[in-house]
Assembly symmetry: C2
Homo-oligomer: 422 residues x 2
């Protein structure tokens, strides 16, 4: 079954807004083994829309239209859909009542132009929008099934997931239960991950389990998209693959599904009744920022972060004189121990960095020191590449060392992004 | 003249990669008064590509194709372009020599499959790519002019700007000199900016100067896109509008064109022989991170940043006891003065924050204290909204207060995003 995604709106067409709605819809479909064959963007004018609807109907079996369901005169999706389908617009009382109730519950009277949002092409199937005023709808246009969805991202996401996807899966004859299992790793590049997982899906399940990767450098996301008749079948197929995948990726797995490396670290600290302080150089506050924005009701888990481009200032912050500084990794460890004491923290993470220009790139020498109840540990790595790139790598490496420390794993395993040291 | 942007590649089609290339091309064209009427995404298969080329030729006068110029078998743009144009592929010796030279200068032999990148449809006009191995080309297909560009963003950007845009402008008969003047503001929402600038472009120049806005919250970018026969005409038209715009936006203008608020602050510090230290709460290292990543060879300008979710830890970092703390804005000023001294900095910025839940949102109370050679100053604001949103606002507000302090402007002007205080 061929599917087209048709995005409408001048802001998308002129590039003012980056089309992340398209990416979301295409990804969700692809993860569910549905076949996206064409993407189209057109502006808010009647002629372009009608032409695009007709061409899409000629190319695809199903078309997801995004945008154009608002209350203003610019929003033409219902009207053009009715024209293209050769039917009239009619008022869907069910949605009109819902709209009135929506405004009433907010103590406001519904503006008249919102009535337009309850006018759908006759014969449409209504697609519920529990979190907005624009209802979706589905209708046949020239032999293709069209699904109209709102442009507001959170409304679109919910409608695509809950309303459109099940209908597409049922149309396509695809087994209707699906699940997405995700692994987040650090230290393994995409091509090596691909090699490491060679043959992991048994031949008999290759139609049911799709393996995919998405790089969000420095992290890599590995996805298993599974389709089956029911959840029991999914469990049975997925379990051995997941076990094997965990074994092959080993300690490089930071977390799974909706977890983050930050949440893993903070959970461990919370369970151990611990607190954390950090010192950063080239990572420039990125660790502080990531941990701070992950704190929920547990703000006391993070005590203090000190950030500076110079070692001197970091040393001064804990009253260490820098006249006779040892090598960086040792200094990082000394700083971690001293800083833990002076900030009254059980754990401290220190990341020192040095940029060294080489013939073809700039190397970032990263020295990490960790102090905690299990004693001190240290790690050094050389990250080659562009400055912004190596900063990201250094931030992730430092957070990963801390994750390994608090979860009791080795901190000295090499990563793909570092240079061999002589 | 109608223009279509046609993006190719499975990664784009399936949503794995967000299509930022499309946004860039569409924006550049729109800024130059060129009319983008259609956007298309198709995968790396011959049938889809050929169909897309034909449909685009039927709809548009010019088509920009992005992607598919690489050396691998997936990259089909040249081959399908030749088919659609009804010509053969031929070797462009000029580009082949360039490719060989490119590899030679890197001490490597050119892999055989790169030869493919010098094979273009007969009769193509070559579009130079000074920073990559994929050359672009232009050719007529069924009455429309097609421009083929590489998928690598920095190569595409340069080729579109230097090669494609001038050709499109010349085809369209648009006066060929253009300029984009940009203003970055903080504190003015897009709709108020629109009101403030009402009537700013004289009626006789409305075809030559286009005003546009782009929100990158919390900053707003205001653009003047100007077209004329020559630079002298542009200067003459632009000058009075720029003067008037600066007067209407006033101190809300952070900087212009490629400048950033960070570079403005760092330049002022450098000229004054100053150094900076910062303390942050809910902004959680974002200020440290933004300033650190803007430092070039002037790393000594930033001394030290301290980040903590609690006031206690910030006070301890400068040995202030918190038994009898004054109100936050005063405390912020005391901390700034003390921290400047203890970190040996001429300037210190302190941002304290308090979250207060209200009936319909969470308010972030932001207290800013600045200390420097001109003495102390303070500012308090209440930012309503979602947590991530108000954090961004607080970060920008603090940086803006510091910009105003170092450039000698008032720091107490209200912004559109803050709540009136009782």
């Amino acid at each position: 079954m061929k599917i087209e995604i048709l995005c409408t709106g001048d802001e998308i067409l002129t590039g003012k807004t980056t089309n992340t709605n398209y990416s979301f819809i295409a990804q969700r479909l692809t993860e569910n083994s549905l076949d996206v064959v064409h993407g189209t963007s057109v502006g808010d004018d009647a002629h372009s829309l009608e032409q695009a609807f007709q061409q899409a109907a000629g190319r695809a079996d199903a078309v997801i239209v995004n945008g154009g369901l608002g209350p203003t005169v610019d929003d033409l999706s219902q009207e053009i859909a009715a024209q293209a389908a050769g039917v009239e617009l009619e008022c869907y009382e069910e949605w009109l009542e819902k709209l009135k109730g929506y405004y009433k519950s907010r103590g406001r009277k519904m503006p008249t132009n919102n009535t337009k949002q309850a006018m759908l092409p006759a014969g449409s199937e209504l697609l519920d929008n529990p979190i907005g005023t624009a209802c979706g709808f589905a209708i046949d246009i020239q032999g293709a099934r069209f699904f109209f969805t709102p442009g507001v991202p959170r409304e679109m996401k919910r409608m695509v997931t809950e309303q459109v996807l099940p209908r597409l899966l049922s149309m396509s004859g695809i087994k209707t239960v699906s699940r997405l299992k995700r692994f987040h790793t650090f230290g393994i590049g995409e091509s090596r991950a691909d090699q490491l997982l060679a043959g992991i899906i048994p031949p008999e399940n290759q139609d049911s389990i799709k393996l995919g990767f998405q790089t969000h450098y420095p992290q890599l996301e590995t996805k298993l998209a599974v389709q089956a008749d029911n959840d029991t079948q999914i469990d049975a197929m997925l379990e051995p693959v997941v076990t094997e995948l965990r074994a092959r990726f080993g300690n490089a797995i930071l977390c799974e599904d909706d977890q983050t490396i930050e949440s893993v670290i903070l959970n461990e600290l919370q369970h151990a009744g611990g607190t954390l302080s950090c010192m950063e150089m080239a990572t420039g506050g990125a660790i502080a920022n990531r941990i701070m924005t992950s704190l929920q009701e547990d703000k006391q888990l993070l005590n203090r972060c000190v950030v500076s481009p110079t070692i001197n200032q970091l040393c001064r912050a804990v009253n260490i004189t820098t006249d006779a500084t040892p090598r960086n990794a040792e200094l990082a460890t000394i700083l971690a121990e001293t800083f833990a004491a002076s900030s009254c923290s059980t754990h401290a993470l220190v990341v020192l960095t040095d940029e060294v220009k080489t013939q073809d790139s700039t190397d970032l020498i990263v020295s990490i020191g960790i102090y905690g109840p299990k004693g001190s540990t240290q790690r050094t790595a050389i990250l080659p590449g562009r400055t912004g790139w190596t900063r990201l790598g250094a931030t992730e490496l430092a957070m990963d060392c801390l994750r390994r420390y608090v979860t009791g794993l080795r901190v000295d395993e090499k990563i793909d992004f570092e240079k061999a040291q002589s």
